[in-house]
């Protein structure tokens, strides 16, 4: 609901409705700004999924905003993964620099995992629990957007178990390509209920037929449902906040709340993954 409200009231109604309906003279242009720079910071992206595969960790560095999108991988880090069943392993770096993979520890519903990354003389630690029970992904369907008859939106259905604290992240793929919009959802307002959630993507206004924010009849639509713990939810919620609100002069942006200690950017997410694919009717 928070996402729904947020999108409807700021994104659709606030500047857009008034500016477009009344004035229609608003305009955009690319500007050159004198942006500040900062020293490169470590970014950790770590996932452990209940899909029978080992833990995957990616380490890279941030870069200045005006540079090209080349993010230096971080090699030679010492990464260990422990679970609350006594398991402990060291991840090995793969042939791709900055990519690390585990060995025997697997993602199991109900287990808590501790990931420790040591690089450049600093250690960063995060704990993530793979939620139990895993909430089934009941249904994937589509509907026409209420804002116009042309846009098709994905709708996901699930039943939230009673008791607060269940958190989810949805990701959407159009013809195999990942949409940038992240859909974090928790049960603060929907505890114990059947939920039918519309995935409202960030854009969709362009005429480009290949726009990932669009869906057209005949598309292959894949949606991934993750059960995540509250720490990971908080990361994706705050990440989503800076990704979605930077169009309006609203909230002062801040870096997402990482679950790593030590000041690293990024997250460690032990989660379930349930996937549904349909052909858009």
């Amino acid at each position: 609901m928070r996402q729904l409200l947020h999108k409807l009231s700021t994104k659709l109604l606030a500047p857009a409705a008034v500016a477009l309906l009344l004035a229609g003279t608003g305009c955009e242009k690319v500007v050159n700004l004198d942006l500040k720079t900062s020293t490169a910071q470590l970014v950790i992206e770590a996932n452990l999924v209940d899909d029978g595969l080992p833990c995957q960790v990616s380490l890279s560095m941030s870069t200045n905003y005006t540079d090209t999108n080349a993010f230096a991988p971080v090699s030679g880090a010492v990464i260990t993964l422990a679970d609350n069943a006594g398991g402990l392993e060291t991840l090995r770096e793969t042939a791709t620099p900055g990519q690390y993979v585990g060995a025997t520890i697997r993602g199991v519903s109900g287990h808590a995992y501790t990931l420790r990354v040591e690089t450049g003389g600093t250690a960063y630690v995060a704990v993530s629990t793979l939620p139990a029970p895993v909430v089934p992904f009941e249904k994937l369907s589509t509907q026409l957007s209420v804002l116009g008859t042309k846009n098709i939106q994905a709708v996901v259905d699930y039943t939230d178990p009673a008791g607060l604290g269940n958190s989810y992240v949805f990701r959407q793929y159009r013809n195999g390509r990942l949409n940038n919009t992240i859909f974090p959802q928790n049960d603060q307002f929907t505890d114990g209920n059947h939920v039918s959630l519309t995935l409202r993507t960030r854009g969709g206004g362009s005429d480009d037929p290949n726009d990932l924010n669009k869906l057209v009849s005949g598309d292959s639509l894949r949606v991934e449902m993750q059960n995540v713990d509250p720490g990971a939810y908080e990361y994706f919620r705050t990440l989503s906040l800076i990704l979605t609100t930077n169009a309006a002069p609203s909230t002062t942006p801040a870096n997402p709340k990482s679950n790593f200690s030590g000041g690293a950017l990024g997250y460690f997410n032990a989660h379930s993954r349930r996937v549904r694919t349909i052909k858009v009717p």
Partner: protein, 782 residues
């Protein structure tokens, strides 16, 4: 609390004693009465009444047009004057107190034909009050505005020290304060959300407004409750001589007003209404969704007054405004203010004026959502019941004593959800909170010597959080430590604060004076908004166990002088330093929307603001207007933000220039222009970027360390008044305006995104809300 009350009471006694002294000294008489417009009967607030034979002896009519002057018995010429009106004199030999009412004839339209006095520049020079500006609606009517919709709040931001929160926003910042630190009063009733259509228009229909006074600092002790400013907006009383109507048809809205006598000379009424009609165009759309959407606002102002007797006059004013934003049958947002004020003026004697006000104010919003079986309603409101008693005692020509008390009962309901049975959304608890805000004040205006004036005041303010309710305590990271539930009628927590106010002026010569002042202000209602645009869902929270009263201490000094022949120009230079305490901000990543335990997300810190303001103003002649320039700084410090170092407040805009010019070419045509130039708001830009979750994400550093590009805008206006036909009551005029005549794309926001043409790069995209917007309005009156 006891230790505060004692000196307060003592102080009051001393003042009363002081005030009594001159009256006892010799045989004195009191001349009193009202100053009103001869054609409409409107009270002329601020009109000057002087005794020609006694230089320096004069007074200003109060908000109800009442004046009182105590002088030795003798033969005098009494002179009443007001800007835009012909001065009136009355010769009299007075051996006993008497009542003298003045009815001044407007001289505004027949320029140069009658002697029209300037703004009471003499009073401005001599009075100790500083940081105050008045806008007369007749004066600002010709200032060009967005969509041709006259807007007092937008015009207000053209004064130095007052800055608009942003393009298309009704919010404003006074001397570096936050948007919620302004007390906006409409006939004494606080207006909690002064914006229509998300801020593109203010809630005030200028047809209903007489004048507006803004205190930027050093507000007199009768005002309190907000840190930065008081914007005191007075509605017209209505014509008590003749029935008149007026109206206008504009690009956005149409207006209609009717005013006339209830009983000639005794009572009058005024009703004004306005509604937008953008939604009528929506109906023309072929798109079903657009067709079934709504987007409109309306507002109604009504006022009536009646002279019950020589000593009693009753006023009733009311306001109702509503906005609706609806999207087909899926989303509806409705919000608005309602206010009502019942006032009784009573003269205890010709030297003691009293006003009793009973005030109601309510702001509420409702959001209806129907989507995928998520059917629910969110409601929120803030409501005040306010009883206020003010006394004005004028013991002698050199002293005025004001004292009074006030009690406001606040009911605040933060947004709560009511869901349909079967909806996937659950209802949430109604966490309505109750509080009582009380104040007592005394303020003493004293002309100690012909050139030396003092205003000394003290305000004692209390704030009590009342039961029932559940309140939590929080750990430093915002997690709830404990919650306690309290019963009805319990006083949960009371804060008492003393607010001293002091101002002094020394008149250097005929044409110039120096002033200095100090004021403390306390604020107990806090608006939580983490956005620069004012949203209808912005939330007020009261002072609680965790949220402490905000305070500000401001010292200011100024230089005032009149320039040119006949004192046609006035120059004001004021400088200030303000220290702010218990300021509120949010933890990073806080989402206020749908956040029903917002206290957990709050941070508390301090602030400082300082600056210098220059204003050159010309209020008489064919050419009128002003030039204002402000150089200022506004900073905040929070332990949890930017490592505890000082950072720029969002509203920090060091340079701010505004020029307003109106030229009356002849009786038909007048032209106007405004020019604004300012530094951009303090914002947070990325300092880097990184790859996460399959996309490039901005890396942020220090908060508000960057600035939007500068802002510049030129607006032009022209008014054509159809020559008045003899014997006809019907007048009409056309107003034309061009907003942003230079077509400059002023930055509204900047977003950072992937370059759509080059996947290896990112870019900054600036959004401008408006390029050039021409508009025309047809106005009529009869």
């Amino acid at each position: 609390m006891q230790k505060h009350v004692y000196p307060f009471g003592l102080w009051l006694l001393v003042l009363l004693w002081l005030a009594q002294q001159p009256a006892l000294a010799q045989t004195r008489i009191t001349l009193s009465g009202t100053v009103q417009d001869a054609t409409s009967g409107e009270n002329l607030t601020g009109a000057t009444v002087r005794v020609r034979e006694l230089p320096g002896v004069g007074t200003g009519a109060n908000a109800y047009g009442f004046y009182t002057l105590t002088v030795p018995a003798g033969t005098y010429t009494l002179e009443a004057s007001f800007v835009g009106y012909a001065t009136q004199t009355r010769a009299l030999t007075a051996s006993a107190s008497q009542r003298l009412d003045f009815r001044l004839k407007p001289g505004g339209s027949e320029l140069n034909e009658v002697v029209v006095t300037g703004r009471s520049t003499d009073a401005t020079l001599s009075k100790a009050q500083m940081g105050v500006e008045t806008l007369d609606l007749r004066q600002i009517a010709k200032v060009p505005v967005l969509f041709g919709e006259k807007d007092v709040i937008k015009t207000l931001t053209l004064l130095p020290g007052i800055k608009s929160a942003g393009e298309g926003s009704s919010g404003f910042s006074v001397r570096g304060g936050a948007v919620d630190q302004n007390l906006i009063l409409l006939d004494e009733a606080p207006v909690y959300n002064a914006s229509h259509l998300l801020g593109f228009f203010s809630t005030f229909n200028s047809d209903a407004i007489k004048d507006l006074t803004v205190f930027k600092g050093g507000m007199p002790a009768q005002y309190g409750g907000r840190l930065s400013s008081v914007v005191d907006i007075k509605m017209k009383d209505g014509n008590n001589q003749q029935l008149h109507g007026s109206g206008g048809i504009g690009l956005i809205a149409s207006r209609l007003a009717l005013e006339g006598p209830i009983t000639k000379d005794k009572g009058s009424f005024l009703v004004t209404a306005r509604r937008t009609y953008a939604d009528l165009f929506l109906k023309l759309s072929k798109n079903e969704t657009t067709k079934n959407s709504s987007l409109y606002f309306y507002d109604v102002n009504a006022k009536a007054n009646y002279v019950l007797s020589d000593r009693n006059r009753l006023y009733f004013s009311a306001y109702l405004g509503r906005d609706a934003l609806g999207l087909a049958n899926t989303f509806g947002q409705y919000y608005g203010n309602k206010t009502a004020t019942l006032r009784l003026n009573h003269l205890f004697s010709d030297r003691v004026f009293s006003n009793t006000s009973l005030i109601f104010s309510k702001y509420d919003y409702e959001i209806d959502i129907t989507s995928n079986a998520q059917n629910f309603v969110i409601k929120s409101k803030i409501q005040d019941l306010n009883l206020k008693q003010d006394f004005e005692f004028t013991p002698s020509a050199t002293q005025t004593l004001r004292f009074g008390a006030q009690a406001i009962y606040h009911t605040i309901t933060p947004g709560y959800v009511t869901a349909d049975a079967g909806s996937s959304v659950n209802g949430t608890a109604d966490k309505t909170n109750y509080s009582l805000e009380t104040a007592a004040y005394v303020s003493h205006e004293w002309q100690a010597a012909p050139r030396l004036n003092f205003t000394t005041g003290l305000r004692l303010s209390g704030f009590s959080l009342l039961g029932p309710g559940t309140y939590s305590t929080y750990a430093t990271d915002g997690t709830v430590l404990a919650g306690t539930t309290y019963g009805k009628g319990e006083f949960l927590k009371t804060y008492v604060r003393l607010e001293p106010r002091f101002a002094a002026s020394f008149q250097l010569n005929e044409a110039s004076s120096l002033k200095a002042g100090y004021a403390r202000n306390v604020q107990n209602l806090h608006l939580l908004s983490n956005s620069s645009t004012s949203l209808p869902t912005d939330l007020y929270v009261p002072t609680t166990f965790n949220v402490k009263p905000e305070t500000s201490d401001q010292v200011s000094a100024g230089y005032y002088r009149t320039l040119g022949q006949d004192k046609t120009y006035s120059l004001t230079v004021e400088t200030y330093y303000k220290a702010l305490n218990n300021q509120i901000d949010y933890r990073d990543g806080t989402q206020l929307r749908g956040n029903f335990d917002v206290e957990a997300s709050l941070l508390y810190g301090i602030g400082r603001a300082y600056g210098i303001e220059f204003l050159v103003r010309k209020d008489v002649g064919r050419f009128t207007g002003w030039l204002g320039y402000t150089l200022s700084k506004s900073e905040r410090q929070f332990a949890e933000i930017n490592g505890g170092t000082w950072f720029n407040a969002r509203q920090d805009r060091p340079n701010d220039l505004s020029i307003v010019a109106i030229y009356q070419l002849n009786s038909k045509w007048s032209f106007s222009g405004t020019f604004l130039a300012s530094t951009g708001n303090a914002v947070t830009y990325p300092v880097g970027k990184y790859m996460v979750a399959g996309q490039v994400v901005s890396l942020y550093g220090q908060r508000n360390a960057d600035r939007l590009p500068g802002y510049r805008r030129l607006d032009l206006g022209a008014t054509y008044e159809k020559p008045h036909q003899e014997g006809h009551r019907f007048h009409s005029s056309w107003s034309f305006s061009v907003y942003n005549a230079l077509g400059r794309e002023n930055p509204y926001s900047i977003r950072f995104q992937a370059d759509p043409n080059d996947a290896t790069r990112t870019q900054a995209v600036q959004t401008a809300l408006f390029r050039t917007i021409p508009s025309a309005t047809y106005n009529f009156s009869f």
